[in-house]
């Protein structure tokens, strides 16, 4: 029954489009498929999410230029959930039930994802979530194109323990006080224990949202670092607080060679607001860096710069790409491939077709959607900040590694199945 609904929706939207876009002769039958973009364009998260919205639109243009999806022209439906979590749920419902979109690309914070998740499961919608997160979740209605902890946090810590990383023995786990940092740090603590680090050598510190004064914290870190062993800081500070944190770090003369700081939510975009000269050598772990050298990435960056200029985006003078943008780009393309494989926009068919999709990504690898767990196999890069705000890749995995949404470092996860619990079969 769902399927018929979907198809009806399709013909309907196609009809509407036929009226709307009668003139564009590009598409034989002017067939149109609506897709939703659910990113905050206002409120606190706009800082990060606006770029993803633009990237999604760029990718749609690109696909449409190449003849669309199965000959259907993509018609984006952009809404602004305004960093307001209940509004996310409302908008998701609207996209699926009112606009009848075939798929939704969106969300950044875990709470926004958790807020829309029940909606997608109830209405059997399809969501592509492009941001690294704490794991501990697999939904049959969601594809996670960002990193799970084992594709970001753990390798970063391993690197810092290695000789090249400086052989850190003491650890400061610093984060904004909410779920992603707490969970990540919990996983890391378990991991560190497994490597024989004692609790005495781990300091965990949290700051409130939008914290802007890091004097005390950095003083604490300096004191902690001067107590015997090589110390490294693992930062899960939330986007907005990073600028004051790094400015303070630089001005207090904490050098990466003494106390390296590795961050999981600081990329090119976040550093846009910072003078990076004092931060040279500080690290970040991602599955993509703008500075990666390969033809795909070069082409992609060119495309983005051109798009930004064409659309007169405010950031056009300094167009940046980053990991979540890449994840968005990959997600959209994989969806396209899956649709074409399934020869249908039907959610269940597309979901099935997603398994094992491959795509040559800007990170230089041909990455693959896991056959079961809805997460991508991604390569991991460790980058060191350069004076120009870009990253030097100082370490990378040999190839893509499989995501472990259920971290083995959380008790009880060993029992969990590495695929969606098909609980949404109620109706």
């Amino acid at each position: 029954m769902k399927r018929r609904a979907a198809l009806k929706a399709l013909t309907l939207s196609a009809a509407i489009a036929a009226i709307g876009f009668g003139s564009t002769g590009l598409y034989a039958a002017d067939k149109v498929v609506k897709v939703g973009v659910l990113h905050s364009l206002s409120g606190t998260m706009a800082i990060s999410e606006t770029a993803l919205k633009d990237m999604a639109l760029m990718t749609f243009d690109e696909i449409n230029k190449k003849g669309g999806v199965m000959g259907y022209k993509i018609e984006p439906v952009v809404v602004d959930p305004a960093s307001n979590w209940p509004l996310f749920a409302e908008k998701a419902r609207q996209l699926i039930t009112q606009d009848k979109v075939a798929v939704v690309f969106g969300c950044w914070t875990s709470v926004s994802r958790k807020s829309v998740l029940p909606v997608f499961e109830e209405l059997n919608g399809l969501l592509f979530y492009p941001v690294q997160y704490e794991g501990e979740e697999i939904s049959k209605n969601v594809f996670y194109t960002g990193a799970a902890p084992n594709q970001q946090a753990i390798p970063a810590v391993e690197y810092l323990m290695s000789k090249d990383g400086g052989g850190a023995k003491r650890w400061v786990l610093l984060g904004t006080d909410y779920v992603y940092p707490r969970t990540t740090n919990k996983i890391l603590r378990a991991f560190l224990h497994s490597k024989g680090v004692t609790d005495a050598d781990i300091m965990e510190e949290y700051t409130p949202f939008g914290h802007a004064d890091y004097q005390t914290i950095i003083a604490k870190i300096k004191a902690f670092a001067s107590e015997g062993k090589k110390t490294a800081v693992v930062s899960t500070i939330n986007g907005d607080s990073n600028v004051p944190f790094y400015k303070e770090l630089g001005n207090q003369g904490v050098k990466a060679t003494d106390v390296p700081v590795v961050a999981f939510s600081v990329g090119e975009e976040e550093l846009r607001g910072v003078d990076t000269k004092p931060l040279v050598g500080q690290l970040a772990a991602w599955n993509y860096f703008m500075s990666i050298k390969n033809s795909t990435n070069t082409a992609w960056k060119k495309e983005w710069a051109a798009y930004a200029k064409a659309k007169k985006l405010p950031t056009a003078d300094k167009p940046l790409t980053n990991d979540p943008m890449e994840a968005t780009y990959i997600g959209i393309h994989m969806w396209k491939q899956a649709v074409e494989k399934a020869k249908s926009f039907d959610v269940d068919k597309v979901t099935a077709a997603m398994a094992g999709q491959k795509f040559k990504a800007p990170d230089g690898f041909t990455i693959e959607m896991d056959a079961k767990n809805h997460h991508l196999h991604k390569p991991v890069f460790i980058g060191e900040v350069k004076a120009d705000g870009q990253f030097n890749v100082v370490w990378k995995t040999k190839g893509p590694i499989k995501a472990q949404p259920w971290s083995p470092y959380i008790p009880g996860n060993d029992k969990k199945k590495d695929e969606p619990a098909l609980m949404a079969e109620k109706k």
Binding site: D80, P118, V119, P208, F209
Partner: protein, 347 residues
């Protein structure tokens, strides 16, 4: 002298009841949840109007009472998930991540609907009573009161952000499955919640109407207009203010409790000062000191928000901002007061 409502009023209410009963069966789940949500907001707006419009106390902390009610209900809904969470544990998932082995004290008895329903009323009530009593006794008035209520809700928000507080940190509660054994997502449950909300809204309206038309209502207005005269007349203004403030908070709590199962999430952002200010704005736009006004206000502002965020995602804030500015400038009496407003000059 003053009846609760004239025949016209009553028939309107009757009509409303009818619509409430029929509507949900014809609307898509989107509209049902959206309207349900807005009705919850409308209840809050009426509650705020009761103290602001009639007693001249502007609370910028009503989002807190709303959220507290929501959390109380949320606890129950979390318990109703049972073992269907990601971890098939009796504990809610977030407790499992933090590997807590048992429920913290706040969760005592939270698997009983009755208990949570009690909390919905008592927690906001007690907080409002204690806070109000202290504040009014020491004659904290006007803007001062507004600002410390803002501080209160802000502090509460930070507190609830902490995972250690035991309410799921900034993710709050979500992914509810059942309420009183019924599936939250089933159309029937939705319809039921919708009707209950509608009924509560009407109930609130009538209660408020009854209060403001009673002598109590006149005393409240008297306190608003000339507090010291009122106390020289022998009215203990502190008690009056505390009573109405508490009542208003309780109503907010109930609204919150109805809100959570319909939107499917409760988290600390409901306590952010911005949300509480918005509540005040619904009332102002709709018309202070009228009871229908705030309902209109909540409807118009949220309706506009839902529409604009869809139609003009890039520019909707301009529209919303403009509405607020123009409403305060040209409709001091709000939409409801528009009629009388005509012809009167600026203050």
């Amino acid at each position: 002298m003053r009846r609760l409502y004239g025949p016209a009023g009553w028939s309107a209410i009757g009509a409303a009841v009818l619509v409430m009963a029929i509507l949900p069966h014809f609307l898509s789940s989107y509209w049902v949840t959206l309207i349900g949500k807005i009705m919850c907001y409308a209840i809050v707006a009426v509650a705020l109007d009761l103290i602001w419009g009639y007693c001249g106390i502007l609370s910028l902390g009503h989002g807190l009472f709303f959220a507290l009610g929501g959390y109380a209900m949320g606890m129950y809904l979390m318990r109703q998930i049972g073992r269907e969470g990601q971890y098939q544990s009796d504990l809610p998932d977030f407790m499992v991540f933090l590997d807590w082995k048992s429920f913290p004290w706040q969760w005592w008895n939270s698997d009983h609907f009755g208990w949570c329903a009690l909390l919905v009323v008592v927690v906001p009530g007690l907080l409002a009573f204690a806070f109000g009593y202290l504040a009014f006794r020491s004659r904290v008035k006007g803007v001062y009161f507004s600002i410390i209520t803002q501080a209160l809700t802000f502090a509460a928000m930070l507190l609830f952000f902490r995972n250690a507080t035991g309410f799921g940190g900034n993710n709050g509660f979500t992914d509810f499955k059942r309420i009183l054994g019924f599936t939250v997502t089933s159309p029937e449950t939705r319809a039921a919640l919708f009707m209950v909300t509608g009924a509560t809204l009407l109930g609130t309206l009538l209660l408020a109407r009854w209060i403001v038309t009673s002598k109590l209502g006149r005393v409240l207005t008297a306190i608003r207009d000339a507090e010291s005269r009122a106390s020289f007349c022998g009215y203990n203004t502190v008690h009056y203010k505390v009573a109405v403030f508490t009542l208003s908070a309780v109503i907010c709590g109930i609204a919150g409790a109805l809100y959570v199962p319909q939107v499917g999430i409760i988290n600390p952002s409901e306590m952010s000062p911005a949300n509480s200010i918005e509540i005040a704005i619904w009332v102002a736009v709709g018309g202070r000191g009228t009871l229908i006004g705030p309902i209109l206000g909540a409807g118009v502002v949220n309706g506009a928000k839902s529409f604009f965020t869809q139609a003009f995602p890039e520019y909707w804030l301009y529209f919303l901002g403009a509405i607020f500015i123009l409403a305060t400038l040209f409709l001091p009496q709000g939409i409801a007061g528009l009629a009388q407003k005509l012809g009167r000059g600026r203050a």
